[in-house]
Symmetry: C2
Subunit: 407 residues, 2 copies
Amino acid sequence: MRSEAKRMWDRLETLGRVGRTAAQGLSRLAYTAADKEAQKLMAGWMTEAGLRVYRDSVGNLFGRLEGRAKDRTIMVGSHLDTVRDAGLFDGAVGVVVALEAVAALAKHCGQPAKNLEVVVTCEEEGIRFEKCFVGSRALVEGLTDAELDAEKDASGISLRQAMTDYGLDPRRVREAMRSDIEAFLEVHIEQGRVLEAAGVSLGIVTATAGQIVMEVEVLGRQDHAGATPMDLRIDSLACAARMMGCIEEYARALGRPAVATVGKIHVEPGAVNVIPGKTRFHIDARDGDPERQAKLKVAIEGICTGVAVERGCEVRVKTFLDERPVRMSSDMINLFKEVADAEKIRWLEIASGATHDAMVMARRLPTGMLFIPSRNGRSHCPEEYSDPEHILGACNVMTEALRRLAY
Amino acid sequence: MRSEAKRMWDRLETLGRVGRTAAQGLSRLAYTAADKEAQKLMAGWMTEAGLRVYRDSVGNLFGRLEGRAKDRTIMVGSHLDTVRDAGLFDGAVGVVVALEAVAALAKHCGQPAKNLEVVVTCEEEGIRFEKCFVGSRALVEGLTDAELDAEKDASGISLRQAMTDYGLDPRRVREAMRSDIEAFLEVHIEQGRVLEAAGVSLGIVTATAGQIVMEVEVLGRQDHAGATPMDLRIDSLACAARMMGCIEEYARALGRPAVATVGKIHVEPGAVNVIPGKTRFHIDARDGDPERQAKLKVAIEGICTGVAVERGCEVRVKTFLDERPVRMSSDMINLFKEVADAEKIRWLEIASGATHDAMVMARRLPTGMLFIPSRNGRSHCPEEYSDPEHILGACNVMTEALRRLAY
């Protein structure tokens, strides 16, 4: 392993020991002692690399290489908070790569024209608190007082209280907003199996998919399973099964990156020998393109209405969430492509199915994102794994991209 | 309303007040005080009709019209125990009709050649104890000591204890077995909507359907709903939905009385944004003919295996229950048809989707069963309703059938 790859790997392993619970699980929830300890490790490595370390009012950690123009900053980073029973790579890999890249530039290229900042965003996963992207939103959108009080963790501790306990002053959260960031870049693991299946070592993200969450309630007629012939029943679950089949077929026909998933279903009364009178299921539908995503939503609604009519059921479709896809900057996409080609790294354009800090930033700033393949597509679990060679490749592309942007 | 119809209706209403809980619910569980009170009412009406009343060692209640041949008995009846929140008709209508028929024969035709007995079986529903048909099984199969101790109600009271508390001597349960019964007849509500949909007022039961209960476990791959394209996922719920669709289509194509129902489904992990790695569902499949039912079972297994292979899932199919259909006596079916035609009552042959005392008896004895239409197919609920004219029609057919059998 090359020394850069070895250092990044060691750092991932060191970070992976912080927040380790019992057996194999890793749980480093936002604004906890484990989270602080991980940030402290990063702060130490940033200092070693000659970066000026500081923390903002919401808890984002920065390592800054001062440029000649004080008010122009290129920012690169990711998060260190994790889900419960997490793996070593989600978030951490982006932080470690960002530091490695900026440290290399500091060492070999000296002072940049623009400031180069490594950022560790303070809360991305939305696990302890339901609100996610606290750190990145604070940087470009600003947090509100209301949400600091409204968000509570499982023990009833508010986001405001958690920040205070962490040593921050929540009255000053608005001060975290930045106007000097010219571009934001992030490396992250893919969390899917697209890159692996294509046999490439790098993904260049074109967009983060939006997300539509719908609840479909199908009302049939509850009847005796033995005494009601097939031709006289109005079975809400059989109706829902047909809807699910049509929705799956439609999303498949639409082609990548369109997806539609039913992950949750509930039938009433839920007895073996009773025809379900009511079935409720949730659909998660996404696409990387706003128009296609809107089309997907209309199609799903149409399928549910159509199948219900065909089977004499009533149906109610509620949309809980309708987040539009966010496109990455085409300048950043092109920059990554050029650099990856120059480095002879095989890449693939990919829409991110998951959401990331880069999505929040891309709404306001020119933003670019790289994906590292995930072995077997596994993520948010201890089996999460990415190849050190792929990490090094992403680091090399990121280093050169930052050089072109900041020098 | 004719006087017989009025008397039966009044008795149904009187019985319906016994075991009434709070609002509209009626709960008359086996071997409870309410159950005893209902039997006491029946015993009084039997005595009024000139029948000799006695109870056997398991708690079946009889009203006997002595025939000239002491060892040959024609038995007619049903049950008085109910499910929770029951209606007025399930069970009770069969008991009330049986008494009305035998009382009419006693009054107008005098002593029969064979004994005529009205029976109130003591436990049919299997609600308080899981074992159902305690009364009818005791008559023709015999209960075992082991099951008296094994069966426990929700408070941990054994069937043996419940019998003792009811005033019975469980050591003598074997004495309930009878060898003198030549035929058993039962009237019951349909509990489905077949007769109503066909516009007839009487059902002549050809068989009680068997019941197969299968559990299907589909194993796919748990993946991120956003990051896993449609063409790379192995979705256990989408696979199960396809199985359900094929099973429904097959049962429908097989035609009445074949049914297949999925009433229960569970997905794991059951989160909106996660492709379900595991889906488990239950199938209840029935038919009135043993060969057709066996075919249905093989087809369901084949569908599950085939769809799983097509979609790269693993599947495990477990059969929990495989009860064969039981045919009613063709002699009794023909007798009912002749009598109904003579009475100018419009009837339909029907396979019972639900199980009844008559099913237990039909395994051992020539048995016949009549169905009265259920309004909207409702049963096991306070909305249960049958037309007094239909009840009277069934009573007339039963009376004449009993006359032909016993005189």
